[in-house]
Symmetry: C2
Subunit: 195 residues, 2 copies
């Protein structure tokens, strides 16, 4: 907590940033994607619309960060096994996709991504980049332990993990039981072929 | 082809059915999801709107059948190996998701599914049922060959396969190269752990 006479700038900026993200997630859960306008978010966060636009170029970018960057808030898992690490990673993904804000945001967000090719082109390079770098770190350790091949198609593994969680929980709305992350980690980690 | 004096009914019905599905896929690709109304589909197929409503309870159901039942049109793969069968299945999925009609339909279809809980509740039981029965058949042969565990969570494997293809091609719009199905079959079939 900054003291009242602390220099302005980063601390206040950081508080505004977090207030905007929190307001966005709350609005999504309460009122849905369509009603979550930049103006409504700014009003709820107690900032001006220009403060929002200084940080995010549009609603889709703001909503994406508000609901899909939870995974990056926790350290990269290091349980000692690839399967263990994948389970932790998938568990965070499941929590992200089943949070009230994310569930409310997904359909509208997908429609916006699909309708705006320039946004869609940035999904891989911008939105998915942090998740990929975490997966790469986790795979590098698995390769060192001899648990994984060094020539894994990381992008495709990421799409498989995210796609499985999205399809199961986000699209079908299946309840995310406590075993879901471990079951998906087993399917993608060990594969479905018997050995 | 039915002779002119053949009894009416199924043959003509079947032709109307196919004409409606074809008109739907074409309209989606040309004009997008929003413009693909039941009225526009009926006009293009040369039938009355009531003929469409006799077969499909709404636009989402019709669009889903028009773009996502290609996989069921080919025999269940039986290549002799689980990996080979998965590759054929995934290849059909990739073709479905990258067809012009499907690519145009997906965002609007997802938004409709999300906005109508009664429709969403039927995805698993109705829309995904044919794909699951094909996967079950393929797994049963793999279990008999000792290639797969008998207690596989089939629903979750199906969600992983469909989710991976949807996320990679449908959502991100990645080009579907000739190796995509085989790479996904390797990830899900063999797993990413080295052995």
């Amino acid at each position: 907590m900054a003291a009242p006479d602390a220099p302005r700038g980063r601390p206040r900026d950081s508080r505004a940033h977090q207030a905007i993200l929190t307001a966005t997630a709350e609005l999504l859960a309460e009122a849905g994607y369509a009603a979550t306008s930049i103006g409504a978010v700014a009003a709820r966060a107690g900032v001006g619309k220009d403060t929002v636009y200084r940080r995010w170029s549009g609603k889709a970018e703001l909503v994406y960060e508000a609901v899909f960057t939870q995974t990056e808030a926790v350290p990269v898992p290091d349980t000692g096994t690839l399967r263990g690490d994948l389970t932790v990673l998938l568990d965070a993904l499941v929590r992200e996709f089943t949070a009230p804000g994310a569930a409310a945001a997904l359909p509208g967000l997908l429609a916006d991504f699909a309708a705006r090719p320039e946004l869609r082109a940035r999904i891989r390079s911008q939105f998915l980049a942090p998740a990929k770098s975490r997966l790469v770190e986790l795979f590098e350790r698995a390769v060192q332990r001899g648990e994984a091949d060094p020539d894994l198609p990381v992008d495709l593994v990421l799409d498989t993990l995210a796609g499985a969680v999205f399809f199961h929980t986000g699209l079908l709305g299946e309840p995310a039981g406590p075993q879901l992350a471990a079951q998906l980690a087993a399917i993608v980690g060990r594969g479905i072929e018997a050995r």
